[in-house]
Symmetry: C2
Subunit: 248 residues, 2 copies
């Protein structure tokens, strides 16, 4: 039995997220079906990030075990014909037998995209959230800087999520404007349920001038979900990259 790793990109619009579930199409399920058809073995992948319904990914990671004789680096071409057009394998390789995509140290980067034009751009509306009021990206950057570092992010976690700890480390949080698009890019060692979308919703409040940047620090210190901003819509969020720490 060999272990294989896939790097997977997808348009999440038509999926109920990553994780397989009954009565709904998910990315994990599509991968399982494609790999099962390709290999003739009952394959069940393990994903690095269980992205939410409607969230996109350019670089999620999936691992599975198989007896297949297809070389790891060729697997991406072999499995692609069994997948729908909105799921694309970017890379494949054989991985160490002990490699588990969630139990390794990682740096994950998410990007939240905001269409900040006067009128929504229909070419962007699948992948961005439209906010009409001009956003002050300097204020958003000032607000985001309070989140950098190791903190208890309980205030930025969807209520009801069950996790051992709500402490996470954010390495960077940067807001950039390119013409009428605004991008929030956040890199961390892991994220709580809805965490990036709550960060985005909070920074948008600041960018609109409704909240001072310092209010983000108050929300963080409160450990109280109701003190942070709303959860921004899923469609604006993309998992950009997962980096594995080679030293681990």
């Amino acid at each position: 039995m060999k272990r294989f790793m896939l790097r997977v990109a997808y348009d999440g619009t038509n999926y109920h997220g990553w994780q397989a579930q009954n009565n709904a199409e998910t990315v994990e399920q599509k991968l399982n079906e494609a790999l099962t058809r390709l290999t003739g073995e009952p394959i069940a992948v393990i994903g690095a990030s269980r992205t939410d319904a409607g969230v996109h990914a350019l670089d999620n990671v999936a691992v599975f075990d198989s007896e297949t004789t297809i070389p790891g680096e060729k697997l991406m071409f072999a499995v692609q014909p069994y997948l729908p057009d909105d799921i694309i394998i970017q890379y494949s390789c054989q991985a160490p037998d002990t490699f588990h995509p969630r139990f390794c140290k990682t740096r994950k980067t998410y990007e939240y995209q905001i269409d900040n034009g006067m009128r929504e751009n229909p070419k962007c509306s699948r992948y961005s959230y439209h906010v009409r009021e001009p956003l002050d990206t300097d204020a958003m950057n000032a607000a985001g800087s309070y989140l950098i570092g190791t903190h208890d992010f309980a205030a930025f976690c969807a209520a009801g999520a069950q996790v051992a700890t709500t402490v996470r480390t954010i390495y960077s949080c940067a807001v950039e404007r390119e013409d009428s698009m605004v991008y929030i890019q956040v890199t961390g060692n892991g994220f709580l349920y809805n965490m990036v979308r709550i960060i985005a919703g909070t920074l948008i409040r600041v960018g609109q001038g409704a909240w001072e940047p310092e209010r983000v620090l108050e929300a963080l210190e409160s450990l109280d979900r109701t003190k942070a901003g709303p959860t921004a819509p899923a469609k604006g969020l993309t998992l950009q990259e997962i980096q594995y720490d080679e030293e681990d």
Copy 2:
């Protein structure tokens, strides 16, 4: 009776082009239905560019006559609720009674978007054509420069198109790379059927190194459709802007 002008953006993926036809959904038809429901009058818009099936627009222009008392600049907000999410009115105003969107001198700008990454980006695949071989944008720009000016573009017009003349003026044709995306932007006084997509298909051949740039000049001078490159897929094409000449 007053004349109104709309500037219309749309994601063309789900439409059989602009022009109303039987048994197929089109952008024109959706606009007619929405305006008819809003005003209670049987409205039939006239479009500036009858974009093809699958082609997108950020700024097409539609004109119609109505007795409505809604002020021109408010019309965009009034009609939007009657339209599907992938058609967005960017601007509206009352227009001179004599204004006709096709019988005025215009400059139209189209953009053709190419995903030139090693693997297709699923977030871009609705709006770009994936070409894996690295494209030489310098060679594409050299090739495109032969098209600038007033020429008979018969070689760059779909066979069977019925037009009075195949002479058009191209004001600019520029190819730019941004990371793994390549953009071909063409501005002209009007375009023949499939003209921009044939230009794109031809410049891609040059960018791949299959053709020398000079071959584009030979194709142009031949007036022979078979001497130009293939018609690139519709999904990569967007009508970016229509400028009306104020002097006219």
